[in-house]
């Protein structure tokens, strides 16, 4: 059961999306995720083209709006495994509000963000995660806005699962992404990758030199320690933390919802009301 579609992706040669695609397909295959009950929801951007290069169910919607669509798909059919996937501009910029409120909803979804710290498809503008001072095609004198720290934000909001991985470490990717998919609730994985065409600062080497796994560095790292996780998420510059930074086992949207907790599958429900009985309330 291959998750790959035989096709030539429309990405630049050397793009971080290539290894991400291979890593993701093999992770899903190894996990044995049932294809008929798997769906990917994406926004718009180079990252968001991912499902076109896989052999899966998908909903490729609007820029920034993958999370509301993913939420509703999961709400009406909880039997589906849902991944929402897009780039940093899509998920943290255009879709920033949905990111915040998606965490609050804590529906069971895995959110994969291709974070290359730049806009690719629109040719090199700064993204919410572009560092201060970096010169881009629309911030010619350098970015003056503070960068968003997506992991610190997610931890502050008490997201169910907060992780980071790197396209250059296949084994690490498999470990973090499969844990995120298995984890119940809103699981965020920020995936570091280079944009070979538009980001000359955050290169493959840049990430390779700085990324370290929190568990490898400290075997006693406790991902349920929220304060420690927050502190770790603030690290950048010389050393960038990756791995499972934060995790909790709080109940999901479905487990709390008065209707959904009964196990109903709304996509299979049909009208069953007796209209004349209902009308009696209006006499």
């Amino acid at each position: 059961m291959s998750y790959l579609r035989e096709v030539e992706p429309a990405w630049c040669p050397g793009c971080g999306n290539f290894p991400l695609r291979m890593n993701l397909a093999s992770t899903l295959e190894e996990m044995g995720v049932e294809k008929s009950h798997f769906i990917m929801v994406t926004g718009i951007g180079q990252a968001a083209k991912m499902p076109h290069y896989l052999d899966i169910n998908f909903f490729n919607g609007l820029h920034g709006r993958s999370l509301p669509v993913a939420f509703a798909i999961k709400a009406v059919n909880p039997e589906l495994t849902v991944i929402a996937e897009s780039g940093d501009g899509d998920m943290y910029g255009e879709g920033g509000n949905h990111f915040i409120h998606g965490i609050r909803r804590n529906f069971d979804v895995t959110v994969l963000i291709h974070d290359n710290q730049i806009y690719g498809l629109t040719k090199g503008q700064g993204s919410p995660t572009t560092r201060k001072g970096q010169k881009t095609s629309s911030q010619l004198q350098g970015v003056i806005n503070e960068p968003l720290n997506p992991l610190a934000l997610a931890i502050t909001m008490d997201a169910a699962f907060v992780g980071r991985t790197f396209i250059g470490d296949k084994e690490h990717f498999r470990k973090v992404v499969s844990a995120a998919i298995k984890h119940k609730g809103f699981s965020v994985v920020d995936i570091m990758q280079p944009c070979v065409t538009f980001n000359k600062v955050n290169t493959f080497k840049y990430y390779k030199d700085r990324l370290y796994d929190v568990h490898e560095k400290d075997a006693s790292y406790d991902p349920t320690d929220k304060v420690k996780a927050f502190e770790t998420a603030l690290e950048w510059d010389d050393k960038i933390p990756m791995g499972i930074l934060y995790q909790n086992e709080k109940p999901t949207y479905h487990e709390l919802h008065p209707v959904l907790k009964k196990g109903v599958i709304l996509s299979k429900e049909r009208s069953s009301i007796d209209v004349s009985t209902e009308l009696e309330a209006f006499r």
């Binding site: 998908f58 949905h98 209707v259 049909r270 009208s271």
Partner: protein
């Protein structure tokens, strides 16, 4: 046809809504026909609140602006309502509160003060002054006292002391025997229902099998959301309050895509935020059912008033070209029926279906016959598919078989232009075929439409209208021999064949807007010349407003 209009006025927070509802329901249950409306300010306490009830012996679907009796609990609202007094209007006020005196009027007013507050205090509940007024009015109409007594018992269920005092206040109100003459109205056992547009739309959605609703609260569209929320557990419906309207529309598209009938509700400003979603539904060919309850705009406008200003905006909603279906019900009965149909059309053609309401329609309760539920509207047109399944297969009628994820078919849906399988494409031959395929659905859609309502088309003047102005237009036309009408509740698309029937007639549209949006739309389809008289002050169209306006324009 005989009628009588009562206005209850006071400040928001004085319990007027509760008392107004009790008054309307008691009169209705006693056999009268009722039409209500509410005029209020966009605030929670204070400000003006007017609850009007039109009482008649056969159903009416519009308000008469000039009332026959006003029961006012505050001086300021008495004064603000003076413009709606006619020569015979009677005023009843609470003589225990700050009240009007003859120097407040520059014309003669038949006013009577009653010590509502003292009477309520004597009954044991000082706050029940409005129940005393309720009893006074119901006594006037010989309404059996057990009817409002039952409502009081239900309202204050479990609070025995309060019930006792309110029942006493009600009795003392009846005992006032108000010295007011009312017309003789035939009261009889009837088989009607009392329902407003919010309830009709909500019940229609439930009957259609709607299982998912997402919305961001916005007056006056919020009612449908809260109606479904209050029915959520009973009927197994998920109601999600979204972080914004963009999220709401995308959620509803996701819910519909995954197989549940889904609904998004809003008002004009929220609908504006949903534009890209309308276009997404069109491109992905996902059924999308939306409610836009109109209020005066632009921007925030008048949140609690009524208008018919969103028609052309809604008809043209979303960037790009694609088919859509827009309904604008005339009555609460039609809100039910057209909501069911909107779900059916959205599923059958995989297009956006928009239900265009108004503040006056959602807030007004009317006496209606049982809405007609149609089993055929429950058809979902969902296919199981197989391994060869292509979501956007080119077909003769433009409708591709629709599968949902979780079955045998792999379902690929894309907001980019796509090939038949659903994969992104830049092949411009495929692009043209896909546009043709989507637009082809318009042909089938035209065959789904019911004819507009028509009356006396041979009259020297034929009025043109749409939506909930029907009650006023119908009442006005019925009252004379020289006026007919053609009136639409399915407003897009429009069947151009109406041209043959209307050619050569003097046409004038009556609409709740400045520019005559429906006249523009009908003209664009038929080429007919249509004059226009519009109301854009936030108030609903009434029969006597139409008469005054047409006289002013020299049309009658």
């Amino acid at each position: 046809m005989r009628d009588f209009v009562i206005a209850l006025s006071g400040e928001a927070g004085q319990g007027l809504n509760t008392i107004g509802d009790m008054l309307a329901l008691s009169l209705f249950r006693n056999g009268y026909c009722i039409f209500t409306d509410k005029s209020y300010h966009s605030r929670i306490r204070g400000g003006e609140y007017v609850y009007r009830i039109r009482i008649s012996d056969s159903p009416l679907y519009s308000m008469r602006q000039e009332f026959d009796l006003i029961v006012s609990l505050s001086k300021s609202t008495t004064i603000s309502q003076l413009q709606y007094f006619h020569d015979g209007t009677k005023l009843i006020y609470d003589s225990d509160s700050d009240h009007v005196s003859s120097k407040d009027f520059d014309f003669e007013v038949k006013a009577m003060g009653f010590p509502f507050k003292s009477i309520a205090k004597e009954a044991g509940e000082p706050r029940a002054q409005n129940v005393v007024a309720l009893g006074g009015i119901l006594g006037l109409f010989n309404v059996k006292r057990e009817i409002p007594s039952k409502l009081i018992e239900e309202t204050f269920s479990g609070k025995e002391e309060i019930i006792k005092a309110n029942l006493e206040a009600l009795k003392r109100g009846y005992d006032l025997s108000l010295p007011i003459e009312i017309p003789r109205l035939d009261v009889q056992e009837h088989n009607y229902y009392l329902m407003n547009g919010t309830e009709g739309t909500g019940l229609g959605a439930i009957a259609a099998g709607c299982k998912f609703l997402a919305a961001y609260p916005m007056t006056p569209g919020t009612g449908v959301m809260t109606f479904l929320a209050s029915n959520s557990e009973k009927h197994g419906i998920v109601v999600e309050q979204a972080e914004d309207e963009i999220a709401a529309v995308n959620m509803v598209i996701g819910g519909a895509f995954a197989g549940a009938r889904s609904l998004v509700t809003t008002s004009g400003g929220g609908f504006a935020l949903m534009q890209e979603g309308v276009s997404l539904a069109a491109m992905t060919e996902t059924p999308l059912v939306m409610v836009d309850a109109q209020r005066p705009a632009p921007a925030t406008g008048l949140p609690t008033r009524t208008a018919q200003e969103d028609l052309l905006f809604v008809v043209n909603a979303g960037h790009g070209e694609f088919p859509k279906y827009v309904v604008s019900p005339r009555t609460p009965k039609e809100t039910f029926e057209l909501t069911e149909k909107a779900f059916y059309i959205a599923d059958k053609y995989q297009i956006p279906s928009i239900i265009l309401l108004t503040e006056s329609l959602v807030d007004s309760s009317a006496t209606i016959e049982a809405p007609i539920h149609k089993e055929e509207f429950l058809q979902r047109f969902i296919t199981e598919g197989n391994e060869e399944y292509r979501r956007y297969e080119i077909t003769e009628n433009g409708i591709s078989p629709r599968a949902i994820p979780g079955g045998k078919a792999t379902v690929r849906v894309d907001s980019d232009e796509h090939d038949e399988a659903g994969y992104i494409t830049e092949d411009l031959e495929i692009r043209s075929k896909m546009v043709d395929k989507r637009m082809k659905k318009m042909e089938g859609l035209l065959g789904e439409l019911s004819a507009p309502a028509k009356f006396n088309l041979d009259a020297p003047l034929v009025l043109v209208g749409w939506g909930d102005s029907w009650g006023a237009i119908d009442e006005f036309a019925m009252s004379r021999k020289d006026v007919g009408y053609v009136h639409y509740s399915e407003v897009f698309p429009i069947d151009p064949s109406i041209k043959e029937e209307l050619e050569g007639k003097k046409l004038c549209s009556i609409e709740g807007n400045f520019t005559g949006q429906f006249a523009t739309l009908l003209r664009s389809v038929t080429g007919l010349q249509i004059d226009h008289v519009g109301r854009y002050d936030g108030r609903p169209i009434s029969a006597n407003w139409i008469e005054r306006s047409l006289k002013k324009e020299g049309m009658i």
